[in-house]
């Protein structure tokens, strides 16, 4: 696929007209998908998809298009040629855009891994054996993902990764369930069984009589998956340079120095430690890391090529100026001490369906989901029925933050909208003095 992609861009580059520049991105994946309900297969299949994103630039004018391609070089070349002809027509119509920017320096990279993925039947068999007698609900996404960039200036970038993600939950009754996932590059049946065993152990607690908790403020421990959800929503429009310069960031009060977070809070866009490609669609290489918040204070925003030209700052991100490999620095709380330090309160494994109650105050609402436990004197007592919360990031990562755990977890984003996500988080759990539940 790599040679085909580069060959396609070579062919199209040779036919460009004077002063034209072509940027091309490829997203390709061949994915096996299986979904289960009650330990039985609901749907299974294979999706082979490849998309070329073609961006034609002439001076200060730019138009872009995405075309699906088939893998047949001649057919794909004809499709790309027709697409570029249309872009060329549009360039004659659109007005000048003062903020068009692309990398004019050539930085080629190539990173591919070896295919060590399991045969799907191995996973089906392991799930069947391990989940026997359990209400297992989940999905498998497995196969190669390939990302390419090439331009008419001669830059060539390629990343190829063979990975899998099995994301599942075990249900007792109704919404009383435990969530887990297993991701990687090589399937280890023993490791999978180990995770399933630990999930089963939590499921036993979910069988106890659930407790209804009245709205109010409680001591709370948010496990890493819950922290991931919280940070994911908080990040919508939070870190981009444009959002800050146009006063729209939900962390504006942080960047303007009006408020700060706890000094132990450091957030990084950690490209080096993530699984997303190290290049972006205008040909810039992403820096290994961008420190977004350091010691509780806002530091560097994410800067797209467009914002770079508009506001005068170095490019360090893609067009959306959103983190895709977000890390929250760990703290000093040993995971084995979490229950003791929590004392009496709620242990929340997962949060769900968050959104903003007040963007200016970075106040967000959402739900607990899956295994949430009532803890008394450091002992798990009972599962807790789902609760709605409404809290500000300035309290959760600021005034109410008691500690962060010392061992962050690496969590892969399981979304597959349009294609399998290459997003990830590396986050610890956080212990809070107060967390407000409203419904």
């Amino acid at each position: 696929m790599k040679e085909q992609f580069f060959d396609l861009v070579d062919r199209r580059s040779k036919e460009l007209q004077k002063d034209e520049v072509l940027l091309a991105n490829l997203d390709q994946e061949t994915s096996d998908f299986v979904r289960w309900n009650g330990g039985r297969i609901r749907q299974c299949g294979t999706v082979d998809q490849a998309y070329m994103n073609l961006n034609l630039i002439r001076g200060d004018r730019s138009c872009a298009t995405i075309v699906s391609i088939t893998g047949d070089v001649e057919a794909d070349d004809a499709r790309c040629r027709a697409a570029i002809d249309t872009l060329r027509e549009r360039l004659g119509v659109v007005p000048a855009d003062p903020f068009v920017l692309y990398s004019e320096e050539v930085h080629s990279t190539d990173r591919s891994d070896e295919n060590r993925l399991p045969d799907p039947d191995t996973v089906l068999r392991d799930v069947e054996e391990t989940a026997a007698g359990l209400d297992f609900v989940g999905s498998l996404a497995c196969g190669p993902m390939r990302f390419g960039f090439a331009n008419s200036l001669g830059q060539r970038n390629w990343e190829e990764r063979h990975s899998f993600l099995l994301d599942w939950s075990l249900f007792h009754v109704e919404d009383r369930a435990v969530k887990a996932s297993y991701s990687g590059f090589e399937w280890d049946s023993a490791r999978f069984r180990q995770i399933m065993e630990s999930t089963r152990a939590q499921l036993e607690i979910m069988k106890r009589e659930p407790r209804t908790v009245a709205p109010g403020k409680y001591r709370v421990y948010l496990a890493p998956a819950a922290v991931q959800e919280f940070l994911d929503t908080m990040s919508w429009g939070a870190f981009g340079l444009r959002a800050h310069r146009t006063k729209q960031s939900n962390l504006l009060r942080l960047s303007e120095g009006e408020l700060s977070l706890d000094p132990r809070v450091t957030l990084r866009e950690n490209t080096r430690g993530g699984i997303a490609p190290g290049f972006q669609s205008e040909g810039y290489l992403r820096p290994d890391e961008v420190v977004l918040v350091e010691d509780g204070k806002f530091r560097d925003p994410l800067v797209s090529p467009r914002s770079s030209k508009e506001f005068g700052a170095a490019v360090n991100a893609g067009a959306w100026e959103s983190p895709i490999s977000l890390d929250l620095a760990p703290g000093g709380l040993a995971p084995s001490d979490v229950l003791r330090e929590l004392g009496t309160g709620l242990y929340v494994n997962n949060l769900w369906y968050m959104n903003f109650s007040d963007r200016t105050a970075c106040r967000m609402t959402g739900m607990t989901r899956f295994a949430t436990f009532w803890v008394e004197d450091g002992e798990i007592v009972a599962p807790v029925k789902v609760m709605r919360f409404d809290e500000s990031a300035y309290r959760v990562l600021g005034s109410e933050l008691q500690d962060l755990t010392s061992e962050p977890e690496f969590l892969v984003v399981s979304d597959t909208y349009g294609g399998r996500s290459s997003g990830s988080h590396r986050v610890p759990g956080i212990l809070l003095r107060n967390f407000e539940f409203t419904l």
Partner: protein
């Protein structure tokens, strides 16, 4: 040889096999702060092959539509059907799939392509310029998203359905900042989405609404926060549709009720035994699945598994009658459903998706509803939505609010929010607006499924009055 002939040529000897071709072209025009951002488009063509054999089921999706490409996909789908045999949620061989014949085309008055690109860009630039002029405005966005989608559904027993759709989403938003507050007003969020041609742009008011939105957002900057308390709310259609979508549409999806979505999108508080008797809302609540309103966003003649789409009541006079579930889910659950098994393209298999789910109009005027409220808030335009995985405990926020005191509209309030529980909220529906308040809207990006899919949903609704709601504001 055309695609149908190539499909017939590679048909395997199996109980059921279908091909679903999707050919979708998109165009996105966007002006921000008077600058025309790069015009973006896409062209996506491919097909999904589905095989049912020996009780198992499998699919394979490919962009390679040659005979060789289709044969390879058929082989892959057969292999999956063999692998899943004896391991599936139901014996798929016992479900007799439809073999439909027919076609459907979106009625279009002004084809998108008949309007020059330069004219479309000029319109967006003019509207963007018209909402400027105040230093407190920090961003102005005007855009149109256009999608042309053609589908062909073929089955091994002669089924053949061709459909063609044109979707348009005009959008305008004005964002302003002052005294530490940043607020936006928009054309119904992104709720003004319709099927049709370029005429939709004017019908939705993209070329007239801008100055009104600008004035409203500037007024909101100096308004007090919405008060906290238990009071009545009057919701405009561009909020009612989200309430319908989240707390009626999703809970009635049969795949949620069957448990398929429990690992991701969630389950439902609705259970199969509730159909036919459960009181979902007050007598005033009438909810239809209506694919026949041709201008609505998710109208069609057939769903993606070939079921013929007909208008049905889901809730009548407050009583739950029917689920949102396609052919396979209906067979599995033994519950009446509708033609709503849909995929968001050739790369994803169909799942139960709400299409046009509408709250039917009542007989109240807006003035009558306001006059009935002693203490309340009139809210417009959804800006925030959240609901639990059983679709019960919800919270919504709106862009615009105005206090209602002693039957009269008084001052503006900013950041109005409310929360409640689906199972009881609809029983507090106290008045339903008449046709004069009724609007045809929709939600262009509804997420669900493993692998994940977005879907276009249409919603039409009038203004509605709810009593005894927990309301609150910002900070």
């Amino acid at each position: 040889m055309d695609l149908e002939a190539r499909f017939r040529e590679v048909l395997p000897d199996v109980e059921f096999c279908s091909l679903r071709l999707e050919n979708e072209a998109q165009e996105f025009l966007y002006v921000r702060d008077d600058i025309v951002l790069p015009v973006r488009s896409s062209s996506d063509v491919g097909a999904m092959i589905t095989v049912v054999d020996g009780g198992g089921v499998g699919y394979a999706a490919t962009a390679d539509l040659t005979s060789g490409g289709l044969a390879k996909a058929v082989d892959r789908a057969r292999t999956w059907a063999a692998s899943s045999r004896g391991r599936t949620v139901t014996d798929f061989s016992k479900i007799v799939m439809p073999h439909p014949k027919g076609n459907y085309t979106t009625p279009v008055r002004t084809p998108w392509a008949s309007v020059p690109l330069s004219d479309k860009i000029s319109l967006l630039r003019e509207e963007c310029a018209r909402v400027g002029g105040d230093p407190r405005i920090v961003q102005r966005d005007v855009s149109i998203s256009y999608v042309h989608r053609e589908t062909l559904y073929l089955t091994n027993d002669g089924g053949r359905v061709e459909q063609s759709f044109d979707h348009i989403v005009p959008s305008i938003a004005v964002t302003a900042h002052a005294d530490g507050q940043t607020l936006s007003r928009s054309l119904g969020g992104r709720g003004y989405c319709r099927q049709g041609g370029y005429e939709v742009v004017s019908e939705c008011g993209l070329d007239t609404i801008g100055p009104e939105l600008r004035d409203e957002v500037l007024e909101l900057l100096s308004a007090p926060d919405c008060p906290t308390g238990n009071m009545d709310v009057v919701l405009d259609p561009d909020q009612v549709i989200l309430q319908v979508h989240e707390s009626i549409g999703h809970p009635l999806e049969l795949d949620r009720i069957l448990g398929d979505e429990r690992n991701y999108a969630g389950r439902s508080f609705v259970t199969p035994d509730m159909f036919g008797s459960y009181r979902y809302g007050s007598d005033l609540l009438n909810i239809t699945y209506d694919p026949t309103r041709t201008e609505e966003f998710a109208s069609y003649g057939f769903d993606d598994e070939g079921l013929t789409a007909t208008r049905e009541f889901l809730i009548r006079n407050g009583i739950l009658e029917r689920a949102l579930g396609g052919h396979i889910s209906q067979q599995r659950a033994g519950v009446p459903g509708v033609a709503c098994s849909r995929a968001n393209g050739w790369t994803r298999p169909p799942i139960d998706r709400m299409a046009n789910v509408n709250l039917e109009p009542g007989d109240a005027t807006l003035g009558e509803m306001i006059a009935r409220v002693e203490d309340g808030v009139y809210m417009k335009t959804n800006t925030s939505w959240s609901i639990d995985d059983s679709r019960n405990k919800f919270q919504f926020g709106c862009e615009w609010g105005r206090r209602i005191e002693n039957g009269k509209l008084t001052h503006l309030v900013r950041k109005p929010n409310y929360r409640g529980i689906s199972a009881t909220f609809w029983r507090s529906l106290a008045a339903v607006g008449n046709e004069s308040t009724f609007m045809v809207l929709g939600t262009p990006n509804c997420g669900k499924g493993e692998p994940s899919q977005t879907a276009r949903a249409g919603h039409a609704a009038p203004t509605c009055l709810f009593t005894n709601v927990d309301v609150f504001g910002g900070e």
